[in-house]
Amino acid sequence: MSAPIGAPVRRKEDHRFLTGRGTYTDDINRPGQLHAVFVRSPHAHAEIVRVEASAAKSAPGVVAIYSSADLVAAGLGTLPCGWAVKSKDGSPMAEPPHPVLAQGRVRHVGDPVAIVIAESRDQAQEASERVVVDYRPLPSVSAVDEAVKPGKPLVYDSVPGNICYDWHIGEQAPVDAAIAKAAHVVRLDIVNNRLIPNAMEPRAYIGEFDRGTGDYTLYTTCQNPHAIRLLMGAFVLHLPEHKLRVVAPDVGGGFGSKIYHYAEEAAVTWAAGQLGRPVKWVAERSESFVSDAQGRDHVTHAELALDKDGKFLALKVATLANLGGYISTFAPAVPTYLYATLLAGTYTTPAIYAEVKGVFTHTVPVDAYRGAGRPEASYLIERIVDQAARALKLDPAELRRRNFIATTAYPYQTPVALAYDSGDYFTTLDMALKDADYAGFEQRRAAAGRQGKLRGLGMASYIEACGVAPSAVAGALGARAGLYEVAAVRVNPTGSVTVLTGTHSHGQGHETTFAQLVSERLGMPVENIDVVHGDTARIPFGMGTYGSRSLPVGGSALVKALDKVVNKGKKIAAHLLEAAEADIEFKDGKFTVTGTDRAKAFGEIAFAAYVPHNYPLDELEPGLDEAAFYDPKNFTFPSGTHVCEVEIDQDTGEVRIVAFTAADDFGRIVNPMIVEGQVHGGLAQGIGQALLEECRYDRASGQLLTGSYMDYCMPRADNLPSFKVATHGTMCTHNPLGVKGCGEAGAIGAPGAVMNAVLDALAPLGITHIDMPASPEKIWRAMASRRTAKAA
């Protein structure tokens, strides 16, 4: 049965996961494999005086111990950054080297100092405890708003004020002028809390070296194997691509944290070459907490100017973005090009100016986490818009409508570089309000009040930019990579199809969605289609999966490759049917001479291509195997409105979500079941950010206070409601499928909706702002202080 676009096809990948037969990196064991354990810094900031490993080297089972000196002697490079941002004055960002193992100084708790390799993991562990590292502890700074103050400890002596870059976008003068004379100006100081991505599968790597061929292989929990091959091969290990294979097998979630090239990948691959044996490392969860790139962490001041009718006139934003102790792979782009370019939101704000300082601190590096910059932008805008509605005593939905970009205005050029191609914010807002029974809310609020609860409703009308593009534009803005995607359609001689995609699925269901694209186009059952990803030895090339790009960019590449297959098929069919190529049409899996019943099935064409006995060999090569590269013309712009309803327990400050409604515009939808699942997951992470999750460091010592699930609050099933989700698609105008991407939307819309709901509930007490996460104690304190103020 063919499974066309739009059908909720059950996932092809599920059978292996449900029967315990997936293959995650830790499930792989290579012959002769050794095990690695990293010695990590217990200090946020310290000088490494001495690494003494002789006792550890004689421990049972130990094969090798390496520290920075060994890597330097071997000529290894440092971990590269994939996006360079320039400061306001045109100067390049500070880009201090990020060594694989710490050199001279450690810059966050968990910074790797040495790698211990032994016959078993227990032996490596025990030996690692015998590696003596003498540290001279130094003062540290972990909070971004502290790090920029004069006299604070410096993460790099060469980087004054800890400022990696001081960047801006937009024009300041018109914004200042508009604010100076506006009828209303709403001001907001707001924190976007640091999060830890916490994919359920901890990172794991196996490096391997073939002594016969000199080829290296890295098995890795990553979202983009070709990018890792390039970054690690070219910049760290100095290995050409053809001598390095990177395999990302089944990967247990990523959410951004598995995009980056990590030190441990380079260390195990290099060590495998040194030792001539495979070297495996699997993170313990507590290690993930101090070594996986973290997300968000902004401190922002914003001002929104409005006229007397509530039309937005100007927005001014100043943000401090925490980068951590080293620049992670794509970190500089996140609080700049992925954040400030979204500050128009869904609105016609004519003048916008934003300045962003990227700041080093003695914390784990920060990089893209689900949404990456866009949740921060959306949260800021949707909070300040709600503040404005309250200040102007306007219905928050009405204020949004007054400022939405008209559905007739596309393409719409914002003042912050992006040009939106399509959208309809009015319809998704109306749908969400209807599904959430907005009209009946005041009655529910009153009923809750009678039960002693504070009830609130909040909304957020977000927009995001997905599928970072086009390559040339991104390159002009500092990207050091192309942002196209690659797909190959290998039609096998008996007519089944193998799709090779450069994107990577780690939960998103590409094996099914991409098969549906093929099924629709070639008219064959999804059972006859295999989608292969995650192996540089099998896939021509690719940039991987992040930023909701797989379908808009990777799917578009697949469509292009399918076009080539069909076009070549037509040529073969024309020959076999003795007709002109222009007269051949392809439909429902058959090549037909237009207006006749003369036809050849797709399988016959495939067979003819591989057994070319009756074939136009003079004009056409045998075979039916086509690849395509697709470089997008623009970003895609999913949007929508999320509505959250909460109840607050006045005695404890606990927030309970009683309803959550989402109406999203993702353009065309290929598999609605998978899309809904993506929305649910994003919502849980967005709600987690708003109510539960916060990565915290001790301000004095830089120690991570939330270093395990005992203290880092992961959303559980009983923290969340069942969600109401719906979609309304306006088609993307510049990719062949009209798709926009759906992976991050939930995490982008939810924080604003939840916090607006919490603050709506607290509004009767005069509470106007609380930072995320809205923990029970924070709310209880806010309530208590207002009550005290009222009583006084």
Binding site: D122, Y709, D711
Partner: protein, 264 residues
């Protein structure tokens, strides 16, 4: 994890023998605390003596006016026991909310009490119900048992065999869980027996304690109103990133009132 010697004695006497004179031997009940501690290399016992195969330590029975729970009885068994649900439903309710289902399927009453984690649930119930802890050497009154954070009256080679909970007239347990770990930030167990009311508080302080001001007020009138003005001092209470001492003190009052209401 460091390696260790492992024994699985079949009797309490053999278990006592197995740890006798070994300073760094550890008794293991359900292992729900010990094994995670070992995994994190925070403990390095020479010997682990597993009480899991001692049949005498398992089971629940009514003995006169008390419910006697064998030390190695799992939380899941206490939670689902008709005997407990009939006599002290609040205790079954407490057990039903410890950890998660998989933890309740392994974790034991005796293990929890012997460990005396400041955020464990059982100590609140033991204090409020005025339970007696029975060991291989003696009987210890609840008020004499909990000595401080992870400290109890147990001697090094002393093994809890059972806990005897007198049946109250009414009782209830309310917990405000830590949102991350789900351990109690504050848990309050109230129990009324005749005119006497006992209030056990866990999570709030380094060790579970009785809230005697509330007990006095509730003994006069077993209503939430009776304790609305009783202030839990914040002095000496725990404080962490999830809850300050001040907030914990406040929650003791809220949970106590809710427990009284729940007890009916």
């Amino acid at each position: 994890m460091y390696n260790f010697e492992y024994q699985q004695p079949k009797s309490v006497a053999d278990a006592a023998k197995a740890i006798a004179g070994k300073a760094d031997a550890k008794l293991m009940a359900g292992g729900m605390t010990l094994i995670p501690t070992l995994k994190q290399r925070l403990a390095k016992p020479t010997d682990v003596v597993d009480l899991g195969k001692i049949a005498d330590l398992k089971g629940i029975k009514k003995d006169g006016n008390a419910i006697v729970i064998g030390a190695m009885t799992r939380h899941a068994d206490v939670a689902s026991s008709d005997v407990v649900k009939g006599a002290i439903p609040a205790l079954a309710d407490l057990a039903a909310h410890i950890g998660d289902p998989a933890v309740r399927n392994r974790g034991t009453c005796g293990g929890s009490i012997a460990n005396n984690d400041p955020a464990a649930d059982y100590p609140a119930g033991v204090l409020a119900l005025n339970a007696t802890i029975v060991t291989n050497k003696r009987k210890i009154a609840a008020d004499d048992f909990f000595k401080g954070m992870f400290e109890t009256a147990l001697a090094a080679d002393e093994i809890i065999t059972a806990v005897s909970f007198p049946i109250p007239e009414k009782a209830a347990y309310m917990k405000f869980p830590n949102p991350a770990s789900r351990y109690a930030i504050v848990g309050v167990f109230v129990a009324k027996t005749g005119p006497a009311v006992r209030v056990g508080v866990t999570g709030a302080a380094p060790s579970a304690f009785r809230q005697k001001d509330m007990e006095a007020a509730l003994s006069k009138s077993f209503t939430g109103d009776a304790i609305k003005d009783v202030k839990q001092p914040q002095n000496g209470l725990n404080a962490d990133i999830h809850a300050s001492a001040e907030y914990r003190a406040h929650l003791v009052g809220v949970m106590a009132k809710r427990a009284v209401a729940k007890a009916g």
